[in-house]
Amino acid sequence: MYFAKHHNVVLIMLGEFEYLILSAAFRLQENAYGAAIRQQIETATKRRCSIGALYTTLDRLENKGLIKTAMGDPTPQRGGRPKRMVRVTGKGVRAASEFYATVTRMSRGVSWETQARNES
């Protein structure tokens, strides 16, 4: 966990995977739970998302206070098992926003796509 002091507020620097989970959970809003977040990440990254990595990162984010989780109601399509519902907290929104702003600032003036085309 990385901390940075910024405008007298302690901001938590996220990891890449943590940011992906926060973004997916925020996009899904009240439909954010394990399987849905996983599917969003797999679609966006075109890579397999391990369920172990997802659940351990959810725990870490919850410990940091960036998300809150709660057990939902059981549904028949899940074999009568409940979902672990995820809600991004205000602190989580600020952390994700700061991460995005940092990546955007760092990427300013860097044209990766042109470079990648030249390399290939």
Binding site: Y33, G34, A35, R38, Q39, S50, I51, G52, A53, Y55, T56, M71, P74, T75, Q77, R78, G79, R81, P82, K83, R84
Partner: protein
């Protein structure tokens, strides 16, 4: 129909907390994973969870300070009890004579022996249940793994630990005397040497210990007074088991502390222990009270 892989997913997922297990299995069912993939996914979660837990000191302390000594002690006591009952069983089985059945003295002695063996088995079962209960109360977060570890230690205790302990004890106590074993004929028979100890270990030790373990992990937070009462009973039972175990003190004194033999202090404690012996049967009273309470709760719900 579920394939074999899905049947394996269920027991592996038991290593997870109940809520997490439900969420993970639900996610796997919803995403319609193949059986092998689902098994790998559950294993992935379990390994990550266990790795995180074992990075703290608490599970190691529970393993080395509780599971290992309790498992070894139960294995030693199990072997002691099964060997003692084997001698009586052999004696009756090999010296059975129809004429004896007409002798009232024979039946009296037979009844006394049967009762004494029964009480020794019941005591062992109560000790095992108490051991399992204590372990279960202290390791709720890792209940499945710890019960598996307890079974493994009981197995190795039976195969290696207890025979080594008794060999050490015999050598230290009687090694120089070169006395023939008076019970050698009994233990030449494979049934008494191998099969009976295994049966006793499984039925009288492992099953009650796992029962106590399961009950303790399934219980919610108890009222302070009840919790204090249960712990007092459990600790007294463990003391009653450990203190009079002369062999254990001999083993510790000579092997660990390099002393000659247990001092008179231990003799005094041991004689005092006999007054606490009824406490070791507390699991019976607890199980009866628990069954009555559960029945009352079920009736109230109905």
């Amino acid at each position: 129909m579920k394939c074999l892989w899905w049947w394996l997913v269920e027991p592996v997922s038991r290593f997870l907390d109940r809520d997490e297990r439900e969420a993970v299995l639900g996610d796997l069912a919803e995403s319609r994973q193949s059986g092998p993939r689902a098994l790998l996914d559950v294993l992935d979660v379990v390994i990550r969870r266990q790795a995180r837990l074992w990075m703290t000191w608490r599970p190691w302390l529970i393993l080395f300070a509780l599971i290992l000594p309790v498992g070894m002690l139960l294995s030693i006591l199990s072997r002691q009890t099964s060997d003692l009952s084997a001698i009586y069983l052999w004696m009756y089985a090999n010296n059975w004579d129809a004429a004896l059945t007409h002798n009232p003295g024979f039946w009296r002695l037979f009844a006394e022996t049967a009762v004494s063996i029964f009480i020794s088995y019941l005591t062992l079962a109560c000790w095992s249940w108490t051991g399992g209960f204590v372990l279960g109360s202290l390791s709720r977060a890792m209940s499945t793994l710890n019960s598996l570890l307890l079974c493994l230690i009981l197995f190795f205790g039976q195969v290696i630990g207890a025979p080594d302990y008794f060999a050490f004890f015999r050598d230290k106590a009687f090694g120089d005397l070169h006395l023939p074993d008076p019970n050698a004929a009994v233990f030449e028979v494979g049934f008494y040497r191998v099969v009976l100890p295994v049966i006793v270990q499984i039925l009288i030790v492992a099953i009650p210990a796992l029962w106590g373990f399961r009950l303790a992990t399934g219980m919610g937070i108890l009222r302070r007074l009840l919790s204090a009462g249960l712990w007092t009973a459990a600790i007294t039972t463990m003391a009653v088991v450990v203190m009079p175990e002369v062999g254990l003190w001999f083993f510790m004194a000579t092997r660990i502390f390099h002393a000659n033999e247990p001092s008179w202090i231990w003799t005094g404690i041991m004689s005092g222990m006999k007054y606490l012996q009824p406490v070791q049967f507390w699991p019976i009273a607890f199980l009866i009270a628990h069954a009555i309470t559960q029945r009352g709760l079920r009736r109230a719900r109905a």
